[in-house]
């Protein structure tokens, strides 16, 4: 046979909850009323945190901050599917993941205020400090998964990155190694359509990010990243597969960065207002709210209560962060090595 087909693929896309709040019953995960509410409340809480961070930055009380507005479903939905024993490797835009994991919000404020202590992860929490060099955290998750597999721990690693991050060599080497060793990793690409000023279509000629998984011999799936049910289901299924020895999965959350890249960016320089408008209609929080309303789980009163609780929690976190004593300059030395070097000991005398 001179010409023949040696391999073929199909890339699936999963949508469950639509913009009007209608869900595909057959695919909707069986959430209890509590779980449903918890999910909604975390969406509200994470957005409340995000808005506060933006305000504090404007007032000069925080440094540069990257908002995740519009990506709440991708972050909360995936984080809720994770077990406490799993390891998470977020990138810089994943404060929603930290909030959903129950990470102390005052630490997040501290961190974005320029204090390393904000990324001193509480003991027992398997979340990594956020990674700023784009995509470079991907191999870390692969290594953690290899360690877990070697130890026989029933643990998976979940790593977050963006559409831009999927262009880095670290993405390639990380996914290839995960596929080659069939490791328990879930790769979550939050494709928010932009890498600062570079639109998704120019980031790569590939139609989807999900299809990249097939270059490494495992499955990739695209999900509606503004659909908290779809994100949750895809993540949960991928985690089950991973822990069952089925190897890695790449999940592309198709979503949108509603805000500027960071507080130092002005997106109006490079992207059309209309685009943002069309995505407003797809708001992930609104969607779940409409769904719950139909199910009689949402009322105006409930909304007020949820918002009030979120505001209170964020207020307290902010207060706690702002009343924390400044860091000790000697910490610079203390935490560079396990113990001070001869030279550091001499240098530290300056303080």
């Amino acid at each position: 046979m001179p010409e023949r087909i040696v391999e073929s693929f199909q890339v699936r896309r999963l949508d469950i909850l639509d913009e009007k709040g209608n869900a595909e019953a057959a695919l909707t995960p069986a959430f209890t009323e509590e779980e449903m509410k918890r999910m909604y409340e975390l969406l509200v809480l994470s957005r409340t945190f995000d808005q506060r961070a933006l305000n504090l930055q404007r007032e000069g009380r925080l440094g540069t901050y990257p908002s995740f507005l519009g990506q709440e479903a991708s972050q909360v939905g995936s984080a809720l599917a994770v077990e406490k024993s799993d390891w998470l490797f977020p990138s810089f835009r994943e404060c929603g993941v930290y909030v959903a994991m129950g990470y102390p919000m005052h630490l997040l404020f501290q961190y974005w205020g320029g204090d390393e202590r904000g990324m001193r992860i509480p003991d027992g929490m398997n979340v990594f400090p956020l990674s700023i060099p784009v995509g470079t955290q991907i191999p870390h998750a692969v290594g953690a998964a290899a360690a877990a597999k070697y130890r026989g721990d029933r643990v998976a690693a979940v790593v977050y990155f963006g559409d831009g991050g999927s262009s880095k060599g670290d993405f390639h080497e990380g996914l290839n190694m995960a596929g080659s060793f069939r490791l328990p990793v879930v790769f979550i690409c939050e494709n928010n359509q932009w890498a600062i000023s570079v639109p998704r279509e120019r980031q790569t000629a590939a139609k989807t990010i999900a299809q990249r998984a097939y270059a490494y011999g495992f499955e990739g799936i695209q999900v509606d990243g503004n659909d908290v049910f779809a994100v949750y289901k895809a993540t949960r299924d991928a985690l089950q597969k991973a822990k069952g020895g089925g190897g890695p999965t790449l999940i592309e959350c198709f979503t949108y960065r509603m805000a500027d890249h960071t507080t130092s960016d002005d997106a109006s320089r490079y992207r059309p207002k209309e685009e943002i408008e069309t995505w407003k209609a797809k708001d992930p929080v609104l969607r779940l709210r409409l769904y719950m309303e139909k199910k009689g789980l949402w009322t105006e009163a409930y909304q007020k209560e949820v918002e009030a609780r979120a505001k209170a929690a964020v207020d307290e976190a902010q207060k706690k962060a702002e009343t924390t004593a400044p860091p000790d300059p000697r910490d610079m030395f203390t935490y560079t090595y396990g113990s001070l070097t001869q030279r550091q000991t001499r240098q530290m005398k300056d303080f």
Partner: protein
């Protein structure tokens, strides 16, 4: 003459050189539509088009590796790495290829390439946005490294870098981008590579600095009869100017913001200890960043050399 800050001066240099020489192309992340996150490449896309001002995907290996390929093909690419903290994944392309192609091909292929990158601390930036690891690049034969300390130097130096037939790492002190404005000639002029600049003459001590630390240093000079040298080209640096000054003053203080150990200050000190030892009246003092991981904004000011530490260093050598 136009009154420009360093960002504007660099932008002007690029625009003028691209108009003069169509081999000059620009590539990097967000250098086109956005004009660069610091606006150094602002307006170039509109003026020169997308095949000459390339918004690349997010790939540092790709940027430097492709720029190298362009250079060998005969273009003069000016690649931007968005912050020096993100250049590490590209050092393999720079060290293993750009720096060696001339030697490897015995002169058949050369690499006229500029890698621009914002450099240094002092702007309360995020982690990885305050790197000053110039010494790593200064160790690599085949590579040149330069740092401008003012808008007018920046403009002339960038032209020299673009025209140089070797790969040049062009470090732009983030802290100086908008700090100073000065009159910058719109006429064509260059600031030569491999030549240090004596900022002020003096008898008692030679103080060597570059980039944003040069400014700190100038703020610390009051009351001293110090000769201040702005190194400008870090590799290969101007031994002659340095040694001449040291032989005259007999005392040396070197200031840089990178951690002390194996920083460029070490090479300057060692060169002096080898070639001017007998003229030295005092130990050679380095006032530098500490040997610690570069801290986040809350501790940044404790890390960076400040006026007090620079003065203390000078006072120390003057005691001899």
């Amino acid at each position: 003459m136009a009154n420009l800050n360093m960002v504007q001066a660099l932008n002007l240099a690029l625009r003028e050189e691209m108009e003069r020489d169509k081999n000059v192309v620009v590539l990097g992340e967000d250098v086109g539509r956005d004009g660069g996150v610091f606006r150094v490449t602002e307006g170039l896309l509109g003026r020169f088009g997308p095949e000459r001002v390339m918004d690349t995907p997010l790939e540092e290996i790709g940027i430097v590796g492709a720029a190298f390929g362009m250079a060998v093909y005969g273009l003069k690419p000016v690649a931007e790495i968005q912050f020096m903290g993100f250049i590490y994944s590209a050092v393999d392309q720079l060290f293993s290829h750009a720096a060696r192609i001339r030697a490897r091909s015995r002169g058949r292929f050369t690499c006229s390439l500029v890698i621009r990158t914002p450099y240094g601390a002092g702007v309360k930036a995020l982690e990885h946005h305050s790197e000053s690891t110039e010494a790593i690049f200064c160790h690599m034969p085949g590579v040149k490294v330069v740092v401008p300390s003012s808008p007018s130097i920046a403009k002339g130096l960038l032209l020299s870098a673009i025209r140089d037939p070797n790969p040049v790492v062009f470090l732009e002190p983030t802290r100086l981008y908008r700090l100073i404005k000065e009159d910058v000639p719109e006429v064509e002029y260059t600031v030569p590579l491999e030549k240090a600049r004596t900022v002020q003459k003096g008898k008692d001590v030679t103080v060597i600095a570059w980039g944003s630390m040069l400014h700190r240093t100038m703020q610390a000079m009051e009351g001293f009869d110090a000769e201040v040298i702005d190194l400008i080209t870090l590799r290969p640096f101007d031994e002659e100017t340095v040694l001449q000054s040291v032989k005259k003053t007999g005392r040396v203080v070197i200031v840089h913001e990178a951690p002390m150990t194996c920083g460029l200050g070490a090479e300057l000190s060692a060169t002096i200890a080898e070639h001017a030892m007998l003229h030295l009246k005092a130990p050679i003092i380095r006032v530098t960043g500490y040997d610690v991981v570069m801290p986040l904004p809350k501790l940044e000011d404790y890390y960076l050399p400040n006026v007090a530490r620079i003065r203390k260093g000078i006072e120390t050598v003057l005691q001899y």
